[in-house]
Symmetry: C2
Subunit: 200 residues, 2 copies
């Protein structure tokens, strides 16, 4: 055995993290030992607390320490504008942009017949209930452009077809700053199809 | 605030790790939440235990959970062959190679007049005491080839000059598999100077 067993256990834990290999895990474990004892004790408490206390918001499914998340309980957020996302991680991406003033709905999955995931397995019924209680709501479907994403988008669109609900989705196109020469043809095709008139 | 505060604290901790930026720290914190509760609790215990229980071996300075490390207490290791290293992390590198059958001595630093680190600030006196108790010992000085490393190497060599101690150091040369065209000139110069006759 090369490492003392306690150190080996730290290395094994860090190796479970995404993108962390043997060498990085060793460096992280050794760096951990260099931290002051109080920081380590605080982290040990936080990591257990996070696992136990963080749960899903009862309204939108976002991660929260309370029953209702900060976004759903914020009176300045537009409750009629709901961004529908696959998992709660997308909330952080949108919040970092900082321009979105609506709320979210976490589906916690996508419809995938291949993996036997049907509409009843993801949070669609709670979305329907939520939307039914609103007046002239808008749903922004922000799901990925995979088969599962498209299937789920179409399914949700169909549910609300005859209701007074505006349904939109994120635009497809060229990522800002991207070189056109290196773009994949599907993205380029979408960007052509969805071209916008330059306003004068 | 974009993240729940407990999650933010996990991210802040992971960001202290070497080579971990904002994005990786976020991924690691989220991956942590996906782990089962028992694994997280065990890790929380291990990380505190590591900090409290891991200490320096009383003989060589290597990291250990006991008073004497596994290497020093191993009867199969040659106690007359001592590899002198800057810090305990080098032990892991040599042990991974697996061919070294001697023991170690961790200096815990290098002589550096620029940083006011003198010979008395690192574990040299304990090395002298240790070597004095041995018969025909060999010291392998495995210190880096910086000014501080060379100064420390020379200093230790001088101490044992008149004593019955063999002193060697790691060979310099071309790393295995390296392209000669891309080598720095100092390494190439060393490799020329230290060339070895090809045995027949």
């Amino acid at each position: 055995m090369i490492y003392p067993s306690l150190l080996q256990k730290l290395i094994d834990f860090y190796k479970k993290m995404p993108g962390v290999g043997d060498k990085s895990a060793e460096r992280m474990a050794l760096a951990t030992l260099d931290l002051p004892e109080n920081e380590i004790k605080e982290f040990a408490k936080n990591i257990v607390d996070s696992k136990i206390k963080l749960k899903n918001c009862q309204i939108c499914g976002n991660l929260t320490e309370n029953d209702i998340c900060d976004i759903c309980s914020n009176p300045n957020r537009d409750k009629n504008l709901i961004c529908v996302i696959e998992d709660y991680k997308s909330v952080f991406s949108f919040e970092k942009v900082g321009n979105y003033k609506g709320v979210y709905h976490v589906l916690n999955g996508l419809i995938s017949p291949m993996d036997s995931v049907g509409p009843e397995d993801i949070n669609i019924s709670s979305l329907v209930k939520r939307v039914d209680s609103l007046k002239n709501p808008e749903l922004i479907l922000a799901l990925k452009s995979s088969i599962e994403g498209e299937t789920t988008t179409l399914y949700i669109k169909k549910i609300f077809e005859d209701k007074d609900v505006t349904i939109s989705r994120l635009s497809y196109g060229i990522p800002m700053g991207a070189e056109i020469d290196y773009l994949d043809i599907i993205t380029l095709d979408k960007a052509l199809e969805d071209r916008k008139k330059i306003s004068e």
